[in-house]
Symmetry: D2
Subunit: 299 residues, 4 copies
Amino acid sequence: MATAAFIGLGNMGGPMAVNLIKAGFTVKVFDLVPEAMQTLADQGALVASTACGAASGVDVVVTMLPAGKHVRQLYMGANGQQGLIDVVAEGTLLIDCSTIDAQSARQVADAAAAKQLEFIDAPVSGGTAGAAAGTLTFICGGHERAFERAQPALTAMGSNIFHAGGPGAGQVAKICNNMLLSVLMVGTSEALQMGIDHGLDPSVLSDIMKVSSGGNWTLDKYNPCPGVMESVPSSNDYQGGFMVDLMVKDLGLSQEAALATNSSTPMGALARSLYVNHGRQGHGRRDFSSIFEQFKNKG
Amino acid sequence: MATAAFIGLGNMGGPMAVNLIKAGFTVKVFDLVPEAMQTLADQGALVASTACGAASGVDVVVTMLPAGKHVRQLYMGANGQQGLIDVVAEGTLLIDCSTIDAQSARQVADAAAAKQLEFIDAPVSGGTAGAAAGTLTFICGGHERAFERAQPALTAMGSNIFHAGGPGAGQVAKICNNMLLSVLMVGTSEALQMGIDHGLDPSVLSDIMKVSSGGNWTLDKYNPCPGVMESVPSSNDYQGGFMVDLMVKDLGLSQEAALATNSSTPMGALARSLYVNHGRQGHGRRDFSSIFEQFKNKG
Amino acid sequence: MATAAFIGLGNMGGPMAVNLIKAGFTVKVFDLVPEAMQTLADQGALVASTACGAASGVDVVVTMLPAGKHVRQLYMGANGQQGLIDVVAEGTLLIDCSTIDAQSARQVADAAAAKQLEFIDAPVSGGTAGAAAGTLTFICGGHERAFERAQPALTAMGSNIFHAGGPGAGQVAKICNNMLLSVLMVGTSEALQMGIDHGLDPSVLSDIMKVSSGGNWTLDKYNPCPGVMESVPSSNDYQGGFMVDLMVKDLGLSQEAALATNSSTPMGALARSLYVNHGRQGHGRRDFSSIFEQFKNKG
Amino acid sequence: MATAAFIGLGNMGGPMAVNLIKAGFTVKVFDLVPEAMQTLADQGALVASTACGAASGVDVVVTMLPAGKHVRQLYMGANGQQGLIDVVAEGTLLIDCSTIDAQSARQVADAAAAKQLEFIDAPVSGGTAGAAAGTLTFICGGHERAFERAQPALTAMGSNIFHAGGPGAGQVAKICNNMLLSVLMVGTSEALQMGIDHGLDPSVLSDIMKVSSGGNWTLDKYNPCPGVMESVPSSNDYQGGFMVDLMVKDLGLSQEAALATNSSTPMGALARSLYVNHGRQGHGRRDFSSIFEQFKNKG
């Protein structure tokens, strides 16, 4: 079986690494937090003392980090230190699962290519639950051959694997999707509240819209109005789910992407403003469907 | 079999009346345009010389008119003239299928109730194709008993019949849905264009988003980017479909509704502004998915 | 000297009527609140028992009411009751100082004209302080001759008298101005907060922008950031001034006006959404510059 | 008298350098375009063959470049090449007049400080006319002592010199101002068009608003409605003035600044979307007040 390095063992990365082990990979891990490594060691991982140590001599490297600058530094090095692309064995496949700006992803892909290494950007969706269950969605950018080579590792961790295009395309597609998601969530929230203001039952209105031309993912899976659906954050005081702070991060990435290509995204930009204000009012750690509360009448 | 009056035989009303005839209703019709009545007479309708004449002595009255003021005048009279509610037989069921402001719908329902008549507002979606095929969606407001009594007529003309709530609720639900639809369309357009600006294939991006959390009706049925789907207006130079001018009308109704209850609809209001500008630039008679062109780079 | 009727003696109307008395008018007053009439009687006004009684036999009628429906009912009558235009003497000049929708103003002007009466819409700005000091601004709509005839009454109550155009133009101009004001206030607030977020002193930034191309009335007279200017609501916990609820009302009128002419006002519509949300969160009775707080970081 | 280097002799930099010469500075110049240097040589400048050559041995360096990356590369070097801070004499004052992102300005200031050099960011407003006339406004960021030392050079080129705060503050203040300007321009345009749609004369409406609470710089100096003011771009088919493309650039910088501090700027973000769409429709080289045309009815 193949050997893999997994670097970045947070809420997402930890369970993803476990699934690689379960699928039969020999996994070397590294994280700045010793406890995170110990948890993986208990599951059978080998612990490395540095990221470069973990990545040396494996078939595939998987990384899961917070932001573009971390990814650039890890792969390309900084301040005279070597990066992963300087130390990995010839033919090592590099897979970054972080959600970062497309420009950073392309830079790393270019730097890897300069050393004859294949790199794909493979941001995920599905949250911590999907990471644990191995049902994540991967949206990949990179060349066809690298995408094919990544299948064993990705299918060990997820159930939907998309190929969005060349280097960086995975990040762009994920950002487009999440920007659109924020628009669906805000638009659905304001429509439901307007119905409520006119005396309609939000469950009835949701039922109508979800099979009509207003139908969208939030009505199907994630209704923002408390009491309409069971087992979603809105029916649990907006606990759990996908935090406002993370949506703000993704909307920031979407606006960076819009600036990079001089694109206009009026709805996405407005959603970002509303989510930033919501977060600044102290709701950053609540589920992103709590934007519904911005429309309620508490006066 | 029952007798019905049908008043307002335009692009929508005409084929709807035909379906009533096909379902076995004896139908008396009226329209200000003689040719429209002749078309129905050829299909077996009885022609009346006035709206009140059509409505006298039938079991059910169905109306399909452009705006709230026409509906109010027709049912309640104006300038000393009698309205339908003054002339119909006891027990006549009144069904208005126009898309109008909720306040007018409630006024007519109240005026009808004052004369012991049952009235439902039953705006439709599905367009002229649905009207011809008898597959319209009806979103109804009114009391339960009236809604039940309306089933034979409505099922003759449509395939999805929703009961949104009390008087006016049909209009509110339709307006909420169409406002949300406009948000989906604009949000999807800007996301697709941003992907294109970054070099992604819009078909691939659409495929990814439609099974992800950005999934929505426009990606399933009505992709705004030319060439992604066959047989939709975007692949036919935005001909046919649902005109920008009609979306502007519906978004006007949604903003009236928001004003009536002091509701806030930032996305819907922004969509209205973008659609008004689009229409004012000369695109009023193109399909509403042509808003996609506002984001393209023609510079 | 001339005789005048003043109907509507609230926070604005009361002191305006006093200024008419001080200018030498014989003033007959009416209000639904007896105490309001008693206050005016103490200042020398004659008290009438009905609005029509007050308006009978005077040279000029001045009205100050909450909304369009009150103005329409008062002037045109309702439910079989006579309106002012049915009872005033020939040649009576009618001046409505309420801030209402333009359509209502035009309806009343038309009804008055049908009885050979001259009517002007003359909404005011300047607040209760301006009403007391007799320094209000009047923005008038109506025919030139009526505007000229209104000068003695208007100059008794205000110091700036504008003629915006024909019937209804006063309301339109005021609504345009107040919509723009809301945009200035929100735009200035977000610019100041972004400067603060980057470590700038808001007083320094305000000083720079107010003499640069960002200069606007809010920076000159009404800085929304606490501590920048003395004697403005922002430096007094947003007490006093012009309430959020009143700005929401004016922004509602502006959106009604935009709907009436199929106009697009993206900034005004967005300002309305933000102000409605702000009011719904419980800030309706604070000064409208408190929208600044929506941008602060309380997280 | 002092010696200065001027690097970047475009539409703005060229006339600024001329004004330094007129004020008595001995000026060494560099630009990538030989013709631009020849024009300055004709005015008495010394021509250098490299930027570093121009900057060596002078008292003050002034730079005027397109974007942050050019400024970073010029001052800090790149690809093994030296930057200005590596070659200038001890005590040389560095003044960058480019409009760039605040982060780049801070990076260069830090790099300069590490070599005991003083640097100020001093973006300008006033356009090519102000550059030629020596009446530019400079909005400066940097330490007090550097700001004082820059006075002779800045007063030679401009008439308003502001000190916004520490390093980068000049860029932040300029970006805040220009973002607010875009909001004033769009908000004023939509208000004027709504008045026109209701039959008002835009000159009368402008006169009213400019002395009321809607008053702002665009009504005073730069009315966007053709025919209201003479000698502004709107009365000259939107030729001259400040191009849409440049406003799009500044709004991009404002959104970068908002992302950097997680700030929310709903009005500024919306203005950017509208300006990007306007530019993409082919209006990028027209004056930015042409956004008014987005609201007109051409249908």
